[in-house]
Protein backbone atom coordinates (compact mmCIF):
# COMPACT_ATOMS: atom_id res chain seq x y z
CA UNK A 1 0.00 0.00 0.00
CA UNK A 2 3.02 2.26 -0.48
CA UNK A 3 1.15 4.26 -3.19
CA UNK A 4 -1.24 5.62 -0.58
CA UNK A 5 1.72 7.22 1.18
CA UNK A 6 3.12 8.90 -1.93
CA UNK A 7 3.24 12.67 -1.69
CA UNK A 8 1.86 13.26 -5.15
CA UNK A 9 0.10 11.21 -7.82
CA UNK A 10 0.09 11.90 -11.54
CA UNK A 11 -2.59 14.51 -12.31
CA UNK A 12 -3.96 12.16 -14.98
CA UNK A 13 -4.51 9.32 -12.49
CA UNK A 14 -6.21 11.77 -10.14
CA UNK A 15 -8.36 13.14 -12.98
CA UNK A 16 -9.42 9.70 -14.22
CA UNK A 17 -10.19 8.80 -10.59
CA UNK A 18 -12.42 11.86 -10.22
CA UNK A 19 -14.13 10.99 -13.52
CA UNK A 20 -14.88 7.45 -12.28
CA UNK A 21 -16.04 8.87 -8.93
CA UNK A 22 -18.42 11.18 -10.83
CA UNK A 23 -19.91 8.16 -12.60
CA UNK A 24 -20.39 6.34 -9.28
CA UNK A 25 -22.01 9.44 -7.87
CA UNK A 26 -24.53 9.56 -10.74
CA UNK A 27 -25.34 5.85 -10.41
CA UNK A 28 -25.44 5.49 -6.62
CA UNK A 29 -26.78 8.90 -5.62
CA UNK A 30 -28.37 10.30 -8.81
CA UNK A 31 -26.40 13.43 -7.98
CA UNK A 32 -23.52 15.25 -9.69
CA UNK A 33 -20.51 16.26 -7.56
CA UNK A 34 -20.67 19.91 -6.48
CA UNK A 35 -19.56 21.91 -3.46
CA UNK A 36 -20.91 25.44 -3.29
CA UNK A 37 -24.51 24.81 -2.11
CA UNK A 38 -23.06 23.32 1.09
CA UNK A 39 -21.73 26.77 1.97
CA UNK A 40 -24.99 28.63 1.36
CA UNK A 41 -26.88 26.04 3.42
CA UNK A 42 -24.36 26.54 6.23
CA UNK A 43 -24.70 30.30 6.11
CA UNK A 44 -28.47 29.76 6.32
CA UNK A 45 -27.94 27.59 9.41
CA UNK A 46 -25.81 30.35 10.97
CA UNK A 47 -28.43 33.00 10.16
CA UNK A 48 -31.07 30.74 11.73
CA UNK A 49 -29.04 30.68 14.96
CA UNK A 50 -29.47 34.45 15.21
CA UNK A 51 -32.82 35.09 13.59
CA UNK A 52 -34.62 31.80 14.17
CA UNK A 53 -37.07 30.50 11.58
CA UNK A 54 -37.31 34.01 10.09
CA UNK A 55 -34.11 33.21 8.23
CA UNK A 56 -35.85 30.38 6.42
CA UNK A 57 -38.32 32.85 4.91
CA UNK A 58 -35.67 34.26 2.57
CA UNK A 59 -36.61 33.14 -0.95
CA UNK A 60 -33.10 31.73 -1.53
CA UNK A 61 -33.25 29.56 1.58
CA UNK A 62 -36.62 28.27 0.45
CA UNK A 63 -34.80 26.99 -2.65
CA UNK A 64 -31.74 25.82 -0.70
CA UNK A 65 -33.04 25.00 2.77
CA UNK A 66 -30.51 25.32 5.61
CA UNK A 67 -30.33 21.57 6.22
CA UNK A 68 -27.74 18.83 6.03
CA UNK A 69 -27.88 17.34 2.55
CA UNK A 70 -25.86 14.98 0.34
CA UNK A 71 -23.70 17.83 -0.91
CA UNK A 72 -23.12 19.14 2.62
CA UNK A 73 -21.84 15.70 3.64
CA UNK A 74 -19.67 15.64 0.49
CA UNK A 75 -17.85 18.81 1.58
CA UNK A 76 -17.31 17.39 5.08
CA UNK A 77 -15.94 14.29 3.34
CA UNK A 78 -13.52 16.39 1.26
CA UNK A 79 -12.03 17.82 4.49
CA UNK A 80 -11.66 14.33 5.96
CA UNK A 81 -10.31 12.76 2.74
CA UNK A 82 -7.71 15.45 2.27
CA UNK A 83 -6.71 15.14 5.95
CA UNK A 84 -6.24 11.36 5.57
CA UNK A 85 -4.20 11.77 2.41
CA UNK A 86 -2.02 14.49 3.96
CA UNK A 87 -1.43 12.44 7.14
CA UNK A 88 -0.48 9.34 5.11
CA UNK A 89 2.13 11.24 3.11
CA UNK A 90 3.37 13.23 6.11
CA UNK A 91 2.30 16.52 4.56
CA UNK A 92 -0.20 17.60 7.19
CA UNK A 93 0.78 20.77 9.03
CA UNK A 94 -0.77 24.03 10.21
CA UNK A 95 0.31 26.84 7.97
CA UNK A 96 -0.89 30.45 7.71
CA UNK A 97 0.95 31.55 4.60
CA UNK A 98 1.50 29.53 1.43
CA UNK A 99 5.13 29.44 0.23
CA UNK A 100 4.46 31.17 -3.07
CA UNK A 101 2.61 34.01 -1.34
CA UNK A 102 5.37 34.44 1.25
CA UNK A 103 8.06 34.56 -1.44
CA UNK A 104 6.38 37.52 -3.17
CA UNK A 105 4.19 39.27 -0.59
CA UNK A 106 6.18 38.65 2.58
CA UNK A 107 5.33 36.91 5.82
CA UNK A 108 2.69 39.26 7.28
CA UNK A 109 -0.13 36.94 8.32
CA UNK A 110 -2.82 39.65 8.44
CA UNK A 111 -2.28 40.64 4.80
CA UNK A 112 -2.66 37.08 3.57
CA UNK A 113 -5.65 36.56 5.88
CA UNK A 114 -7.36 39.73 4.65
CA UNK A 115 -6.82 38.93 0.95
CA UNK A 116 -8.02 35.34 1.51
CA UNK A 117 -11.13 36.61 3.33
CA UNK A 118 -12.02 39.06 0.54
CA UNK A 119 -11.33 36.30 -1.99
CA UNK A 120 -13.56 33.90 -0.06
CA UNK A 121 -16.42 36.41 0.03
CA UNK A 122 -16.23 36.98 -3.74
CA UNK A 123 -15.83 33.24 -4.36
CA UNK A 124 -18.94 32.37 -2.34
CA UNK A 125 -20.96 35.23 -3.80
CA UNK A 126 -19.82 34.43 -7.36
CA UNK A 127 -20.41 30.69 -7.01
CA UNK A 128 -24.06 31.17 -6.03
CA UNK A 129 -24.44 33.96 -8.62
CA UNK A 130 -23.15 31.62 -11.33
CA UNK A 131 -25.14 28.67 -9.94
CA UNK A 132 -22.13 26.46 -9.23
CA UNK A 133 -18.39 26.21 -8.71
CA UNK A 134 -15.32 24.57 -10.25
CA UNK A 135 -16.77 21.16 -9.31
CA UNK A 136 -20.48 21.69 -10.04
CA UNK A 137 -20.03 23.70 -13.24
CA UNK A 138 -16.40 22.92 -14.06
CA UNK A 139 -16.26 19.16 -13.71
CA UNK A 140 -19.89 17.97 -13.46
CA UNK A 141 -21.35 20.55 -15.85
CA UNK A 142 -18.64 20.14 -18.47
CA UNK A 143 -18.80 16.34 -18.42
CA UNK A 144 -22.58 16.50 -18.93
CA UNK A 145 -21.94 18.86 -21.88
CA UNK A 146 -24.02 21.58 -20.19
CA UNK A 147 -23.73 24.97 -21.88
CA UNK A 148 -24.00 26.63 -18.43
CA UNK A 149 -21.03 24.56 -17.21
CA UNK A 150 -18.74 25.34 -20.15
CA UNK A 151 -19.59 29.03 -20.10
CA UNK A 152 -19.17 29.39 -16.32
CA UNK A 153 -15.91 27.39 -16.23
CA UNK A 154 -14.41 29.60 -18.95
CA UNK A 155 -15.36 32.72 -16.98
CA UNK A 156 -13.95 31.24 -13.73
CA UNK A 157 -10.55 30.88 -15.41
CA UNK A 158 -10.67 34.20 -17.30
CA UNK A 159 -11.40 36.02 -14.03
CA UNK A 160 -8.92 33.91 -12.08
CA UNK A 161 -6.04 34.28 -14.54
CA UNK A 162 -6.59 38.05 -14.85
CA UNK A 163 -6.68 38.48 -11.05
CA UNK A 164 -3.64 36.26 -10.36
CA UNK A 165 -1.64 38.03 -13.11
CA UNK A 166 -2.67 41.42 -11.71
CA UNK A 167 -1.55 40.49 -8.19
CA UNK A 168 1.70 38.71 -9.03
CA UNK A 169 2.79 40.69 -12.10
CA UNK A 170 1.64 44.20 -11.21
CA UNK A 171 0.82 44.71 -7.51
CA UNK A 172 3.52 42.56 -5.93
CA UNK A 173 6.41 43.29 -8.29
Amino acid sequence: MEWLRLEQWSPYIVGVGIGILSCLSFVLSDHPIGCSTAFVRSSGMIERLFRGTKAEERPYYRQFSPTITWEWMLVVGVIIGSFISAILSGRFGFNWIPAKWEATAGDAVYIRWFVALVGGILLGFGARFAGGCTSGHGISGMLQLAVSGWLAAMCFFIGGIATAMFIFRIVLV
Binding site: V75, S85, G124, I139, I167
Partner: protein, 185 residues
Protein backbone atom coordinates in the same frame (compact mmCIF):
# COMPACT_ATOMS: atom_id res chain seq x y z
CA UNK B 1 -32.85 -1.39 -7.40
CA UNK B 2 -31.01 1.90 -7.94
CA UNK B 3 -34.18 3.86 -7.23
CA UNK B 4 -34.47 2.10 -3.86
CA UNK B 5 -30.92 3.18 -3.02
CA UNK B 6 -31.60 6.77 -4.12
CA UNK B 7 -34.63 7.06 -1.85
CA UNK B 8 -32.87 5.96 1.36
CA UNK B 9 -32.01 9.27 3.01
CA UNK B 10 -29.58 8.04 5.66
CA UNK B 11 -27.75 5.86 3.17
CA UNK B 12 -27.48 8.80 0.75
CA UNK B 13 -25.92 11.03 3.42
CA UNK B 14 -23.35 8.27 4.08
CA UNK B 15 -22.68 7.92 0.35
CA UNK B 16 -22.23 11.71 0.08
CA UNK B 17 -19.68 11.56 2.88
CA UNK B 18 -17.90 8.57 1.34
CA UNK B 19 -17.74 10.11 -2.15
CA UNK B 20 -16.49 13.32 -0.53
CA UNK B 21 -13.73 11.45 1.31
CA UNK B 22 -12.49 9.87 -1.94
CA UNK B 23 -12.81 13.23 -3.74
CA UNK B 24 -10.80 15.03 -1.03
CA UNK B 25 -8.20 12.25 -0.99
CA UNK B 26 -7.75 12.51 -4.77
CA UNK B 27 -7.61 16.34 -4.76
CA UNK B 28 -4.90 16.27 -2.07
CA UNK B 29 -2.89 13.57 -3.86
CA UNK B 30 -3.10 15.61 -7.06
CA UNK B 31 -1.76 18.73 -5.33
CA UNK B 32 -4.97 20.65 -6.13
CA UNK B 33 -5.50 21.51 -2.45
CA UNK B 34 -2.35 23.64 -2.42
CA UNK B 35 -2.37 27.39 -2.99
CA UNK B 36 0.97 27.27 -4.80
CA UNK B 37 -0.36 24.76 -7.36
CA UNK B 38 -3.62 26.64 -8.01
CA UNK B 39 -1.93 30.04 -8.29
CA UNK B 40 0.71 28.38 -10.52
CA UNK B 41 -2.17 27.36 -12.79
CA UNK B 42 -3.72 30.82 -12.84
CA UNK B 43 -0.28 32.31 -13.64
CA UNK B 44 -0.04 29.70 -16.45
CA UNK B 45 3.19 28.26 -15.01
CA UNK B 46 1.93 24.89 -13.72
CA UNK B 47 -0.90 23.09 -15.53
CA UNK B 48 -1.66 20.48 -12.83
CA UNK B 49 -5.19 21.79 -12.19
CA UNK B 50 -6.14 21.83 -15.89
CA UNK B 51 -4.69 18.31 -16.33
CA UNK B 52 -6.80 17.00 -13.44
CA UNK B 53 -9.97 18.78 -14.57
CA UNK B 54 -9.77 17.84 -18.21
CA UNK B 55 -8.91 14.17 -17.62
CA UNK B 56 -11.84 14.03 -15.17
CA UNK B 57 -14.10 15.59 -17.80
CA UNK B 58 -13.03 13.10 -20.52
CA UNK B 59 -13.48 10.07 -18.24
CA UNK B 60 -16.72 11.28 -16.68
CA UNK B 61 -18.19 12.44 -19.98
CA UNK B 62 -17.75 9.04 -21.64
CA UNK B 63 -18.80 7.17 -18.49
CA UNK B 64 -21.90 9.17 -17.62
CA UNK B 65 -23.23 9.23 -21.19
CA UNK B 66 -22.64 5.48 -21.50
CA UNK B 67 -24.45 4.90 -18.18
CA UNK B 68 -27.27 7.11 -19.42
CA UNK B 69 -27.60 4.97 -22.56
CA UNK B 70 -27.82 1.90 -20.30
CA UNK B 71 -30.55 3.64 -18.23
CA UNK B 72 -28.32 3.49 -15.16
CA UNK B 73 -27.93 7.25 -14.83
CA UNK B 74 -29.74 10.41 -15.82
CA UNK B 75 -28.30 13.83 -16.51
CA UNK B 76 -28.79 16.81 -14.22
CA UNK B 77 -28.04 19.79 -16.44
CA UNK B 78 -27.98 23.12 -14.64
CA UNK B 79 -30.04 25.81 -16.26
CA UNK B 80 -28.08 28.90 -17.13
CA UNK B 81 -28.05 32.42 -18.52
CA UNK B 82 -25.42 34.88 -19.68
CA UNK B 83 -26.16 37.14 -16.72
CA UNK B 84 -25.72 34.28 -14.30
CA UNK B 85 -22.83 32.33 -15.76
CA UNK B 86 -20.74 35.16 -17.25
CA UNK B 87 -21.11 37.83 -14.55
CA UNK B 88 -21.20 35.29 -11.69
CA UNK B 89 -18.34 33.36 -13.29
CA UNK B 90 -16.14 36.46 -13.51
CA UNK B 91 -16.87 37.46 -9.88
CA UNK B 92 -16.03 33.88 -8.88
CA UNK B 93 -12.82 34.16 -10.92
CA UNK B 94 -11.69 37.28 -9.05
CA UNK B 95 -12.31 35.48 -5.75
CA UNK B 96 -10.50 32.40 -7.12
CA UNK B 97 -7.43 34.52 -7.97
CA UNK B 98 -7.39 36.33 -4.61
CA UNK B 99 -8.00 33.29 -2.43
CA UNK B 100 -6.08 30.73 -4.51
CA UNK B 101 -8.59 27.97 -3.73
CA UNK B 102 -12.06 27.12 -5.07
CA UNK B 103 -15.03 25.90 -2.97
CA UNK B 104 -14.01 22.22 -3.13
CA UNK B 105 -10.26 22.69 -2.81
CA UNK B 106 -10.69 25.20 0.05
CA UNK B 107 -12.27 22.36 2.05
CA UNK B 108 -9.38 20.09 1.05
CA UNK B 109 -6.83 22.76 1.97
CA UNK B 110 -8.51 23.09 5.38
CA UNK B 111 -8.13 19.33 5.87
CA UNK B 112 -4.44 19.62 5.07
CA UNK B 113 -3.97 22.29 7.77
CA UNK B 114 -3.92 25.50 5.69
CA UNK B 115 -5.20 28.16 8.08
CA UNK B 116 -5.70 30.78 5.35
CA UNK B 117 -8.24 28.36 3.82
CA UNK B 118 -10.15 28.03 7.10
CA UNK B 119 -10.12 31.57 8.50
CA UNK B 120 -9.95 33.35 5.17
CA UNK B 121 -11.54 31.08 2.59
CA UNK B 122 -14.28 29.16 4.39
CA UNK B 123 -15.38 32.05 6.62
CA UNK B 124 -15.32 34.35 3.59
CA UNK B 125 -17.43 31.89 1.60
CA UNK B 126 -20.02 31.70 4.39
CA UNK B 127 -20.23 35.51 4.35
CA UNK B 128 -20.32 35.68 0.53
CA UNK B 129 -23.03 33.05 0.09
CA UNK B 130 -25.01 34.74 2.89
CA UNK B 131 -24.78 38.11 1.11
CA UNK B 132 -25.97 36.41 -2.08
CA UNK B 133 -28.97 34.90 -0.25
CA UNK B 134 -29.90 38.39 0.99
CA UNK B 135 -29.52 40.05 -2.43
CA UNK B 136 -31.03 37.18 -4.43
CA UNK B 137 -34.55 38.61 -4.86
CA UNK B 138 -33.13 41.82 -6.38
CA UNK B 139 -30.48 40.10 -8.48
CA UNK B 140 -32.92 37.58 -9.86
CA UNK B 141 -35.04 40.16 -11.62
CA UNK B 142 -32.27 42.48 -12.73
CA UNK B 143 -29.35 40.27 -13.72
CA UNK B 144 -29.79 36.53 -13.34
CA UNK B 145 -32.40 36.27 -16.08
CA UNK B 146 -30.48 38.22 -18.74
CA UNK B 147 -29.87 35.96 -21.75
CA UNK B 148 -31.59 32.96 -20.19
CA UNK B 149 -31.04 29.71 -22.11
CA UNK B 150 -32.22 27.10 -19.58
CA UNK B 151 -31.03 23.53 -19.29
CA UNK B 152 -29.30 23.58 -22.65
CA UNK B 153 -26.67 21.01 -23.68
CA UNK B 154 -23.92 21.42 -26.30
CA UNK B 155 -25.46 18.74 -28.61
CA UNK B 156 -28.79 20.62 -28.47
CA UNK B 157 -27.09 23.96 -29.09
CA UNK B 158 -25.04 22.68 -32.03
CA UNK B 159 -27.83 20.36 -33.24
CA UNK B 160 -25.45 17.45 -33.70
CA UNK B 161 -25.43 13.92 -32.31
CA UNK B 162 -24.40 13.59 -28.67
CA UNK B 163 -21.68 10.97 -29.28
CA UNK B 164 -20.20 13.05 -32.09
CA UNK B 165 -19.90 15.99 -29.67
CA UNK B 166 -18.30 13.68 -27.10
CA UNK B 167 -15.75 12.46 -29.68
CA UNK B 168 -14.90 16.00 -30.79
CA UNK B 169 -14.54 17.25 -27.20
CA UNK B 170 -12.38 14.23 -26.25
CA UNK B 171 -10.14 14.71 -29.28
CA UNK B 172 -9.77 18.44 -28.56
CA UNK B 173 -8.91 17.81 -24.88
CA UNK B 174 -6.38 15.09 -25.72
CA UNK B 175 -4.66 17.33 -28.30
CA UNK B 176 -4.58 20.16 -25.74
CA UNK B 177 -3.10 17.91 -23.03
CA UNK B 178 -0.44 16.61 -25.45
CA UNK B 179 0.46 20.19 -26.36
CA UNK B 180 0.77 21.13 -22.68
CA UNK B 181 3.03 18.11 -22.03
CA UNK B 182 5.16 18.89 -25.11
CA UNK B 183 5.59 22.45 -23.93
CA UNK B 184 6.80 21.03 -20.61
CA UNK B 185 4.16 22.86 -18.54
Amino acid sequence: MLKAIHSKKGLQLCLGLLIGIVFGFLLQKGGATRYDVIIGQLLLQDFTVVKIMLSAVVTGMIGVHFLKSQKMARLHLKSGSFGQNVIGGLIFGVGFGLLGYCPGTVAGAAGEGSLDAIFGGIIGMLIGTGIFAILFPKLQKKILEIGYFGELSLPELLKINEWLVIMIVCAAIIVLLFTIEKAGL
